[in-house]
């Protein structure tokens, strides 16, 4: 059995990369990938504890999370395609019509 801190630290690092990527990247697709990274960091934590406690709940939860994340991406990509058609850019910096 490995110490619990290893997978948790990995999840923490993944989550931080996701947060930083979300905040500094301009390309909407990359921002989406950062969000996926954050979701998967949470998945890793669930799996880690499910394995550690020998408790199946954590594994079931991960399947739910993967499903909802997929639904979210489906909506997001459709939106990005639709914006790209009228704007020819998917940079989040170009989304600046709303201000005040």
């Amino acid at each position: 059995m490995y110490p619990l801190i290893f997978p948790l630290a990995l999840a923490g690092i993944l989550f931080s990369i996701g947060v930083v990527g979300f905040l500094i990247r301009k390309n909407a697709i990359i921002v989406f990938m950062s969000l996926e990274l954050m979701f998967n960091a949470a998945n890793l934590v669930f799996i880690t504890f499910a394995n550690y406690f020998q408790n199946v709940n954590g594994q079931v939860i991960v399947i739910f999370i993967m499903t909802t994340a997929a639904a979210e991406v489906a909506v997001g990509l459709a939106l990005i395609v639709s914006i790209f058609r009228s704007r020819h850019s998917i940079s989040v910096d170009d989304l600046n019509k709303l201000k005040g």
Partner: protein
């Protein structure tokens, strides 16, 4: 799964099944009878409302503790169902003006509402996460419904990115709570906390992440930056629904999770919520002062109102005022819902086909052009400010009372002072309507007028029997 289990989620079930049926019905109706889908959606909502009312006073837990039907969830179900009916009426008119009348919208609305209702009844952190997604994903699409306008799409993408970010944070927090307590069930976590069988480090990390995640959802400062853009860009009828429904659902989750599981951390969390409430009230109200666009002003005012609700919640750790704290938050949510929907209805009546004419300027002359609408708008502005003989006054009264009973007198004073500031920008709207000439053109026969008048009557009528509503709200959460 037994019949009793199914009965407990019947309001949600009715909406989901009805939404699926509506998807099929719309295929046929969109060609033959374009007005049928919204009417059918209202029928579904009324069924759900009736089922919710039947559940009054029958607290129960089902699905192995994943669903808790209690006074709290029933109160919110009724609030959501009525909000939904108003939202359908507003969408029908607004989308006809914008020439984007589409049946899918009502289906998405029902799905989103089912998520909100599930949120009110959730007894497990995973159900809360799933409900959050179920209510958010349709909302992202609804915000982008006016897809010929880039603003609408921009609002939709911004909402989606920030909303998903918040969901991811909530989820990461949930994972740590699971690690701390070996379960995601709210009541089992509370049990583990009382037996001190939890890992404190993980538990505190989880609680902190949940504060941030829910802070995004209810648009508390400093997590509010998405709100003005999204509220401004989305079609007005969608914003009306979003400003009420999504906010109430966010508070539902916040209240249930924190008052059940995190009371033990209340000493630390009180300071956090105190700071959030103060910041939200101050930033929301002062930024609203500078707005020229009515939609943006209402967006900032909705941020400010989230601050007031948080104020009640600061004292959640104090056993003696917990029921009052939850009841006054629910009461304020109801008052805010009626007032806010009404104000958006007036905005929709004034707005033109290309989603323009929504500056505060454009309300000039409304007092003469449409006396009924102007009178209703005056009621809403007074209620937002918290002036007596409106529901908003009683909402603020109960909030301040709870804050003072909980020992947060300074907080109540800050709340009072920021309310005074807010009077400036709310009353400015009234002055514009009555004392300036303008060429406002109003749709006097639409549903928005009906919604505005009914909402104004509710705001005025319930203000005479606030105790009744408050008692209903206080028949609240099952604790322990």
């Amino acid at each position: 799964m037994t019949i009793i289990d199914l009965f407990s989620i019947l309001p949600v079930l009715v909406l989901v099944v009805w939404a699926l049926f509506l998807l099929l019905a719309d295929l046929w109706a969109s060609r033959k009878l374009p007005g049928l889908t919204p009417i059918l959606a209202v029928v579904g909502l009324v069924c759900s409302l009736v089922v919710s009312i039947v559940q009054v006073g029958k607290p129960q837990s089902s699905f192995g503790g994943m669903i808790h039907v209690d006074g709290f969830s029933v109160f919110l179900n009724i609030l959501f169902a009525i909000t939904g009916i108003a939202a359908v009426a507003l969408a029908y008119e607004s989308f006809k003006n914008l020439k984007i009348q589409r049946g899918e919208y009502y289906v998405l609305l029902l799905f989103s509402l089912s998520g909100m209702m599930l949120m009110g009844a959730a007894g497990d952190l995973i159900v809360i996460f799933l409900a959050l997604e179920l209510l958010s994903i349709p909302l992202y699409i609804m915000a982008g419904m006016d897809f010929n306008r880039l603003e609408s799409k921009e609002a939709s993408l911004k909402y989606l990115l920030l909303g998903t970010f918040a969901s991811a944070i909530v989820l990461f927090g949930t994972a740590f709570i699971y690690g701390a307590a070996q379960t995601t069930n709210l009541y089992e976590i509370a049990l583990a906390v009382s037996l001190a069988e939890i890992n404190w480090t993980l538990f505190i990390i989880g609680a902190a992440l949940l504060v941030v995640g829910f802070g995004f959802k209810v648009a508390a400062v400093p997590f509010h930056t998405w709100t003005p853009d999204v509220y401004h860009g989305a079609p007005s009828s969608v914003t009306a629904f979003m400003a009420v429904g999504a906010k109430a659902a966010g508070f539902a989750a916040l209240i249930r999770v924190f008052s059940l599981d995190f009371t033990i951390l209340s000493e630390n969390l009180t300071a956090v919520f105190w700071a959030l409430a103060v910041l939200t009230m101050i930033v929301g109200n002062f930024t609203a002062l500078a707005q020229k666009n009515l939609k943006r002003m209402l967006a900032y005012s909705s941020i400010a109102h989230a601050g007031y609700i948080l104020m009640a919640f600061v004292a959640f750790g104090n056993e003696a005022v917990r029921v009052d704290s939850i009841a006054s938050a629910l009461f304020y949510l109801a008052a805010y819902a009626a007032t806010s929907i009404g104000a958006w209805a007036v905005l929709i009546a004034v707005e033109r086909e290309d989603a323009s004419r929504n500056e505060i300027e454009h309300l000039a002359g409304l007092g003469k052009a449409a006396p009924l609408l102007a009178a209703a708008m005056t009621v809403f502005m007074l209620s937002f400010t918290g002036i007596p003989v409106t529901l908003g006054f009683w909402g603020k009264f109960y909030l301040f009372r709870t804050a003072i009973q909980g020992g947060n007198i300074i907080l109540a004073v800050i709340g009072l002072l920021t309310s005074l500031v807010s009077a400036y920008y709310y009353l400015r709207v009234v002055v514009k309507m009555y004392f300036q000439e303008g060429d406002v053109k109003v749709n006097q026969k639409g549903w928005s007028l009906v919604v505005a008048v009914v909402a104004a009557l509710i705001v005025l009528g319930l203000a005479f029997i606030p105790e009744l509503l408050y008692k209903f709200a206080a028949s609240s959460l099952i604790i322990g």
